[in-house]
């Protein structure tokens, strides 16, 4: 048989009870929130404290290591000075003298029957030279050697003919300005089938 329930409590009492429940809930929630905030803040502060202690310890270790390194300053000085010095020596040795290389290069490109009178390498990328030859073909070969990148391996970037004339003796005199690229390397003897072979002497 179904139960019949009758609420005899007055409605004011019910609403009062509801309000009291709401009030209690808000009080508990507020107190819980404050407690959580305080606990969280306390944890963060404790973490910071331990972190600061760790930082101090690390700094102390660092200071100790610095002092130990400072006691080995003589060894450090030796190593640093020797290393720097050898690096400088290596840099200078590996930097080819452009003027010297230009001399060797142009020597190799000059045919046997072409005679050079002056060679002047005062700048790292320019050579002034003058010479003579009796053979037009030798002169042609010489110009060819100077201007053909396949023969001079791209080491010569330009040739200016300052002067070219034929004297009464029939010899052709020339004054040239040859532009060379920096850090030129030794070139192999140029191959020439019909022209005279390249000479090695000025």
């Amino acid at each position: 048989m179904a139960k019949i329930s009758i609420n005899l409590l007055p409605p004011e009492l019910t609403s009062t009870r509801q309000e009291k429940t709401k009030r209690d809930l808000s009080v508990k929630a507020s107190i819980a929130f404050v407690i959580v905030m305080v606990v969280f803040t306390g944890s963060v502060l404790a973490l910071r404290l331990s972190q600061n202690l760790s930082l101090k310890q690390k700094e102390s270790t660092l200071e100790g290591n610095r002092k130990r390194v400072a006691t080995l300053e003589k060894e450090e000085g030796l190593v640093v000075v020797v290393k720097k010095r050898l690096s400088a020596i290596s840099v200078v040795r590996n930097a080819e003298s452009d003027q010297a290389q230009s001399f060797i290069l142009l020597n190799a490109l000059t045919p046997q029957t072409v005679q050079l009178f002056t060679f002047n390498a005062n700048k790292s990328d320019q050579v002034t030279l003058s010479g003579e030859t009796a053979s037009t073909q030798a002169l042609q070969t010489f110009f060819n050697n100077l201007t053909d990148p396949a023969i001079n391996e791209g080491k010569i970037t330009g040739v200016n003919v300052d002067n070219l004339n034929k004297g009464q003796t029939g010899r052709i005199h020339f004054d040239l300005i040859v532009n060379v690229s920096s850090q030129s390397q030794t070139v192999t003897q140029p191959a020439s089938t019909s022209a005279p072979p390249a000479k090695t002497d000025i």
Binding site: M37, R66, E73, V79, A88, V92, F119
Partner: protein, 258 residues
């Protein structure tokens, strides 16, 4: 807890601020908004706690963490440096320094430079005609070295000049050809060369750097350079060779005027 509250009440029950609070709480408005009072108080406590305590400490925590990482890195580098320095053989490195000073002395050492150049000229069959040197220093910033100039005029053949150029590159003292002028050939054979050489040196540093800076020991490339200097100096008179251990004995009249 109850005892504490009773103690608090008995001590402050007649305090003016407490009476004020009691008066406020008896009001109808208080009863109406009572449910919001404690949450408001909680916010009033929490928000300053968050802004002035929590957040600054959280940011500081991250900052300090980065600081600790940085210190740990420096510590590790210093420990590595210590290991390197403790393994350094001081005597060997002093020998390396002496060898490197053959090639790149700490000062101009003009005497050795002159003897070196004269030896190279002689061994390449160049006949010296003129020798001048300029003691004003030039700086090579790429290698952080200084140099002074030496100007030579010499007579030779082309092969001799080429030989000289090759020997300059391999000389124990660090030399480099700066300018080269060659003339001649009309009479055949001899050529007149004017060669400007740079003779390098590097003063010893007064400071070696900071404690925290890392260092590295010599590698194979450095040892090869040292070997080259050592080999070339042995074949050049006056460079790194042992002086004669016997004292010089002179013969002849001690007093020719007697």
């Amino acid at each position: 807890m109850k005892g504490l509250v009773q103690k608090f009440l008995s001590r402050y029950s007649n305090a003016s601020w407490w009476l004020k609070i009691k008066e406020l709480s008896a009001r109808d408005e208080f009863a109406k908004y009572q449910v919001f009072v404690l949450p408001a108080v909680a916010c009033f406590i929490s928000i300053p706690l968050l802004i002035f305590v929590l957040l600054p400490n959280v940011f500081s925590w991250f900052k300090t963490k980065a600081q600790i990482s940085q210190i740990e890195m420096v510590n590790t580098a210093l420990e590595d440096k210590l290991n390197v320095l403790q393994s350094v053989d001081k005597e060997s490195y002093e020998g390396y320094l002496k060898t490197s000073l053959i090639s790149l002395p700490e000062d101009k050492d003009v005497t050795t430079a002159i003897s070196q150049v004269l030896f190279l000229l002689g061994s390449s069959r160049l006949q010296l005609q003129d020798f001048t040197f300029a003691l004003s220093a030039e700086k090579d910033s790429s290698a952080d070295v200084s140099a002074f100039g030496v100007k030579i005029s010499a007579l030779s053949d082309t092969a001799g000049l080429k030989e000289f150029i090759g020997k300059v590159k391999k000389a124990p003292r660090l030399l480099k050809i700066k300018n080269l002028e060659v003339s001649g050939g009309r009479a055949g054979g001899s050529i007149n060369s004017t060669i400007n050489l740079l003779v390098y040196y590097q003063p010893l540093p007064s400071k070696i750097g900071k404690v925290d800076e890392s260092i590295s020991v010599l590698d194979q490339k450095d040892l090869d350079t040292l070997s080259q200097i050592s080999t070339s100096s042995k074949s050049t008179p006056g460079f790194g060779q042992e002086e004669a251990t016997e004292s010089a004995t002179y013969s002849g009249n001690a007093d020719p005027f007697q």
